[in-house]
C-alpha cells in the first residue's frame, strides 16, 4: 500500500464545510463591531481552512503515517531515553477530575491534585537523595535554568554570586545555554582519555571565581563519573555548588543517588526516565530537586500541609520567583507519578539494571564492527565513532540507511568529543529480539557500505521522503505557506 500524498491544510480549504459544532447561543448576540469599534477584526482569517470533521481526521491520520514512533519499534536515540509510554498513564491523565481543573480553583476543591503533586515531590526526593523539590520547570532546560538560579541566589545570599560555571566538553548544549541565561560565563572542562573529568586539572582550576559545576552523570558517553564524590568535595571546598543534569538518571534509579554523593541540585526529565511521552517534541517536565540549603530559593508557590489540608504557600521572600505561569506541566506530572506507582522502588531499580544490560548487549554485539568512542565501561548507552567506515560512508549515511531497515537512527554527531559519534540508548523496554534485529541491520549496512556504497550514501530509499535539503531550507527560509 503506497502512502497518500497529503496536501497542506490550506490546500484543502473547502468553504462551506465545518469540522466542529458550536452550541446555540442562549444569550443575545453581541457583534464585535459594537463591542470593539475600530479594533474589531477587518482582516480575513485567510489561513483557517474550512473542513469537515472527516477531512480533519483523515488529514492528521495520514500525516501520522509519515512518522516513526516508539510504539512501532526501537528508537535508540542516545541521551533521549525513548522508552515505552504506558497506556494507563494516558488514561489517568484524562480523568475529568484531573484534566479539567482550573489552576486558580480554591484549594479546598483541588486536594486530590495537590496530594498527587506532593506525593510526586517526595518520590523524586527519594529517588534523587535530595531534600526538596519543585515541579514547576516545564522541561529539562528550564530545570537547568531553575537549578542554576538556585545556586546563584544561594551564593548571592552568601555574599558573592561568582562568575563562572564549569561544564565538561561532553555536556548537552542546554547546559552552557542555561548557565549563560543565568548570568554566568561558561568555562569548558576537557575530558580525560578515559572520558571522565581530569580530577587534578579540576583541583587546579577550582577557585573563588567559580560558582559551580554542571555534570551529567552518567555522562553523555554513558560513562559513570568515577571521581564524582571527590569532585563534589573539591567544588565544595572551593566554595562552589554542584549541579547534576539528570538526563541520564535512567541508568541509576535505585543504584546511585546524586544527593548521596554531595550534589546540591539536579533536574529530572520526566519525559525521559519517567515514561511521559515525548510527543514529537514535548510537552515534558523538568522538576528540580535540591538539598535543604537551596530550598528557601525554590520557585514559588510551594505546597504545604496545614491541619491535614494541602495549600499553596506564596510567602517565599527568598524565592527566585516563578518560572511557569501556574504550577508546572501538571498533566505530565500525573503520568510520571502513575509510572512510579506502577513500578514501585524495586521495579525502578530493575528498570535501570535492564537499561544497562540492554546497552551493554548492543555494545558487545557491535564492538567488533564499529569502534567505540571511548573504551571504558559504559552503563545505559554506548557511543561508537565513524573511524573505519569504508568508502567515504559517513555517520549520517549509516543513520539514514537504518531508516530503510525500519529503525529510527541513533543520536548522531553528539557528543562532540567523539568523531562522527553514533550514540545508542536502547532503554529497558526493548525486548532482546528487537535489539538483535537492530544489530543485524547495522551489520548488514556495514556490509553494504563495503560492497555497494552508493546504496548507503543515497539512503533512505523507502521512507515517505528521500533525503531532505536542509541547506536550501536555511538559505531561503520559508516558514509559512504561501500559495
Amino acid at each position: 500500500m503506497s502512502r497518500i500524498e497529503e496536501k497542506l491544510l490550506f490546500e484543502k480549504d473547502h468553504p462551506g464545510r465545518v469540522g466542529a459544532s458550536v452550541p446555540p447561543c442562549d444569550v443575545p448576540e453581541v457583534s464585535p463591531e459594537a463591542a470593539f469599534g475600530a479594533l474589531a477584526r477587518k482582516a480575513p482569517l485567510t489561513r483557517l481552512p474550512e473542513m469537515s470533521e472527516v477531512d480533519v481526521v483523515r488529514h492528521f491520520t495520514r500525516l501520522s503515517t509519515y512518522n516513526y514512533a516508539v510504539d512501532m519499534g526501537l528508537y535508540p536515540l542516545g541521551s533521549c531515553t525513548m522508552k515505552y509510554n504506558p497506556k494507563l498513564n494516558e488514561e489517568v491523565a484524562r480523568l475529568e477530575g484531573i484534566a479539567r481543573l482550573h489552576p486558580m480553583q480554591p484549594e479546598s476543591t483541588v486536594q486530590g491534585a495537590l496530594e498527587l503533586m506532593d506525593t510526586l515531590q517526595k518520590a523524586l526526593c527519594a529517588i534523587s537523595g535530595m531534600d526538596a523539590c519543585s515541579l514547576q520547570p516545564s522541561a529539562g532546560a528550564q530545570g537547568e535554568f531553575t537549578g542554576v538560579q538556585l545556586i546563584r541566589a544561594y551564593l548571592e545570599s552568601q555574599g558573592d554570586a561568582r562568575k563562572i560555571i564549569l561544564i565538561p566538553d561532553s555536556a548537552h548544549g542546554t547546559n552552557p545555554a542555561s548557565a549563560h541565561f543565568s548570568g554566568y560565563a561558561v568555562e569548558e572542562v576537557k575530558s580525560a582519555a578515559d572520558g571522565c573529568i581530569d580530577l587534578e586539572a579540576l583541583k587546579a582550576r577550582m577557585g573563588p571565581d567559580v560558582a559551580g559545576i554542571m555534570l551529567t552523570v552518567p555522562n553523555t558517553l554513558g560513562i559513570f563519573e568515577k571521581n564524582i564524590v571527590e569532585i563534589c568535595k573539591v567544588i565544595h571546598a572551593g566554595g562552589g555548588q554542584v549541579y547534576v543534569d539528570g538526563a541520564n538518571l535512567n541508568a541509576m534509579m535505585g543504584l546511585a543517588r546524586p544527593g548521596d554523593w554531595g550534589a546540591d541540585v539536579m533536574h529530572i526529565n520526566l519525559h525521559k526516565t519517567f515514561t511521559t511521552p515525548h510527543g514529537g517534541g514535548g510537552p515534558g517536565a523538568g522538576p528540580v530537586a535540591c538539598k535543604s540549603h537551596l530550598e528557601p530559593f525554590l520557585p514559588r508557590p510551594v505546597i504545604v500541609k496545614r491541619d491535614g489540608r494541602y495549600a499553596w504557600d506564596c510567602d517565599r521572600p527568598r524565592s527566585i520567583g516563578k518560572v511557569h505561569g501556574f504550577f508546572g506541566n501538571f498533566l505530565i506530572l500525573v503520568r510520571a507519578l502513575c509510572y512510579i506507582e506502577t513500578m514501585g522502588g524495586e521495579g525502578l531499580k530493575k528498570s535501570s539494571e535492564l537499561a544497562v544490560l540492554n546497552a551493554n548487549y548492543i555494545r558487545a554485539r557491535l564492538k567488533d564492527d564499529l569502534p567505540l568512542g571511548f573504551d571504558g565501561p559504559t552503563l545505559h548507552e554506548v557511543v561508537f565513532c565513524d573511524k573505519g567506515l569504508p568508502n567515504g560512508i559517513t555517520t549520517m549515511d549509516l543513520a539514514k540507511r537504518l531508516i530503510d531497515y525500519g529503525f529510527h537512527p541513533p543520536t548522531v554527531y553528539f557528543p562532540l568529543i567523539v568523531h562522527g559519534a553514533i550514540m545508542i540508548e536502547p532503554t529497558e523496554t526493548e525486548p532482546v529480539e528487537e535489539l538483535d534485529r537492530f544489530v543485524n541491520a547495522v551489520k548488514a549496512i556495514l556490509k553494504e557500505a563495503a560492497e555497494d556504497p552508493e546504496l548507503v550514501k543515497s539512503a533512505p530509499h523507502t521512507a515517505y521522503r528521500r533525503r531532505l535539503d536542509d541547506v536550501a531550507a536555511a538559505r531561503n527560509p520559508k516558514l509559512t505557506y504561501k500559495p
Partner: protein, 448 residues
C-alpha cells in the same frame, strides 16, 4: 513487570553474549562510595486495576468545572475541545515520537508544525511563528530576551495590566542578566496609561509589553500605544495574548502596530489541566526571524524534488550554538502545538469566529446581569470574554458563597493587585449557560 520484556532466560543469554556473570558486573564502574546501599524509600508496585481506582479516587477529591460552571479565567479559559483532537493526539505515531531531528521519519510532525506556524502568523498578523514555547509566561520572558538582541537596550517597560505571573516569570528570566523591568500603570479605562508610558521611555527601552486583551480582559488600543513610541531608538512593541480566542474578533496585533506577539494558545483545544501543559508562542515580522527563540520548521525539497519539511535556522539553537544560542529551550510543547493545529483546522474561520462571538456575548450578558444587581465593572474599556468588577464583599468570601451554590467564582484581584482590593475578575466562555450567569449574579448580588 509488564513494561520490562526481559525474562530470566533472556537475561542469562544476554549476559553470556556480553561475557559478564551478572548484571551487577555491569554496574562495577559505579564506585562503591557512590552506590546506594539500601532500597529506595518508595511503596511497592501497584497493579493496574488497583492503581486506576486510586487515580479515580484522587480525581473525585477534586471538583472540576464538570459539575460547577467556571467563571475563572485569569489566563486559563474553560473551552470545549472537540473529540477528534484527543483521539488524534493518541495516535502513537504522534505522541510516542521524538523531536523531528530525522525529517525523513517525521514528516507528519513537521508538516503539522508548518501548518501551525502558518495559522499563528495569520491569526496574529505577523510573518513568522515559532513551533511553540512552554507557556505564555515563558514566551513573554523570551520576548524580552529577543527584543534585547534586536534593539540592544536592556530596559523593558511592561504594563502592570499584563498577567501577574507572566511579569513574575519575566523578572525571573531577566533578573541576573542586568535588565531593568519597569511597570507602566493603568488608567481608569483599564488600559495602559499612555502619559506614564511616554514618560518612562528612554533610549535603553528595547521592548514595551502590553496585554491584548490585558489581564483585566480590557482590549488595548495598540495603535495608540505604537504611536506613542515614535522617536529615536524606538523600542519594539510586544502584544501579550493570554486568551488566543480573542484573535478571531480583534484586528490582529500585527496590523495594529505590534512588532511581536507572545503569549498563550492553550485555548485552542487543550484541557485546563490545572495549569499545564500549555502552549507558549511568539510570532513576529520577517526582519526579526533570526532572533526568534525555539524551533522553526521550514519548507524544502527532497532528493527527488518533492516538497518536504525540516527544522531550520538551527544555528540559533543550543545544540549548535551552546551558550550563544537565542534560548536554552530544547524540548518544547510539541503535542500541544499539534492539538492547536487540529483545533484550528476543525473550527475553521467561521467556527472560530462564531465561538468567539459567543464568548463575547456571554461575558456581555453576565456584565449586564451583574449591573442589574448593582455590581459594576471596575474599568470602562471594552472587554472580550473576561472583565473585572467591584464586589460588595471580600472576593474570597464571595467565592465561598458561589462554591456553596456549585459555581466556581472569579479571581480575587487583590492577589496580584493590592490596590484593587475588592476587585474580582470574571470570565464567561461558551461553557457557561445563561442560567449559570443568572445564578452567579443572584449569588453575588445577594451579598453585602
Amino acid at each position: 513487570m509488564r513494561y520490562l520484556p526481559a525474562s530470566e532466560e533472556d537475561i542469562r543469554k544476554m549476559l553470556g553474549a556480553i561475557g559478564a556473570s551478572s548484571v551487577e558486573d555491569l554496574l562495577a564502574s559505579i564506585p562503591k562510595e557512590a552506590r546506594l546501599q539500601k532500597p529506595l524509600d518508595l511503596p511497592e508496585a501497584v497493579a493496574e486495576p488497583v492503581l486506576r481506582e486510586r487515580y479515580v479516587t484522587r480525581s473525585v477529591r477534586n471538583s472540576s468545572p464538570t459539575c460547577r460552571p467556571c467563571f475563572l479565567g485569569a489566563g486559563a479559559y474553560d473551552h470545549y475541545s472537540p473529540a477528534p483532537i484527543d483521539q488524534l493526539l493518541l495516535r502513537a505515531e504522534f505522541f510516542t515520537a521524538y523531536t523531528p531531528y530525522q525529517p525523513e521519519m517525521a514528516q507528519g510532525t513537521l508538516q503539522a508544525i508548518f501548518e501551525f506556524q502558518t495559522m499563528m502568523a495569520d491569526l496574529t498578523g505577523m510573518d513568522v511563528s515559532n513551533a511553540s514555547l512552554y507557556d505564555g509566561a515563558s514566551a513573554t520572558a523570551e520576548a524580552a530576551l529577543m527584543a534585547h538582541r534586536i534593539h540592544k537596550g536592556k530596559t523593558v517597560l511592561v504594563a502592570r495590566s499584563v498577567h501577574p505571573a507572566y511579569r513574575e516569570v519575566l523578572r525571573t528570566y531577566t533578573r541576573r542578566l542586568g535588565f531593568t523591568i519597569q511597570e507602566v500603570p493603568f488608567g481608569q479605562d483599564g488600559r495602559v496609561d499612555l502619559g506614564a508610558l511616554k514618560a518612562a521611555l528612554s533610549p535603553d527601552v528595547c521592548l514595551v509589553l502590553v496585554g491584548d486583551p490585558n489581564f483585566f480582559g480590557v482590549v488595548e488600543d495598540l495603535q495608540a500605544v505604537a504611536a506613542s513610541l515614535e522617536g529615536a531608538k524606538k523600542p519594539l512593541l510586544g502584544a501579550v495574548v493570554s486568551e488566543a480566542l480573542s484573535l478571531a474578533l480583534l484586528e490582529p496585533p500585527g496590523a495594529r502596530g505590534a512588532d511581536l506577539v507572545c503569549g498563550e494558545a492553550r485555548s485552542f483545544g487543550l484541557s485546563l489541566g490545572f495549569g499545564g501543559p500549555y502552549l507558549g508562542f511568539i510570532t513576529t515580522k520577517q526582519a526579526h526571524m533570526r532572533q526568534l527563540p525555539g524551533r522553526l520548521c521550514g519548507e524544502t525539497v527532497d532528493a527527488e524534488g518533492r516538497r518536504g519539511f525540516v527544522l531550520t535556522l538551527t544555528t540559533r539553537e543550543q545544540h549548535i550554538r551552546r551558550e550563544k544560542a537565542t534560548s536554552n529551550i530544547c524540548t518544547n510543547e510539541g503535542l500541544c502545538m499539534l492539538a492547536a493545529t487540529i483545533y484550528l483546522a476543525s473550527m475553521g474561520r467561521k467556527g472560530l469566529r462564531d465561538l468567539a462571538v459567543q464568548n463575547l456575548s456571554k461575558a456581555e450578558y453576565l456584565k449586564g446581569a451583574l449591573k442589574a444587581k448593582g455590581i459594576t465593572p471596575l474599568f470602562s474599556g471594552p472587554t472580550f470574554n473576561e472583565f473585572a468588577v467591584k464586589l460588595p464583599v471580600d472576593p474570597a468570601k464571595a467565592n465561598e458563597a458561589a462554591l456553596k451554590s456549585d459555581l466556581l467564582g472569579g479571581y480575587d484581584l487583590s492577589k496580584g493587585y493590592p490596590e484593587l482590593a475588592g476587585g474580582c475578575l470574571l470570565a464567561a466562555t461558551e461553557r457557561v449557560s445563561k442560567l449559570a450567569c443568572d445564578r452567579l449574579a443572584a449569588v453575588l448580588g445577594g451579598l453585602s
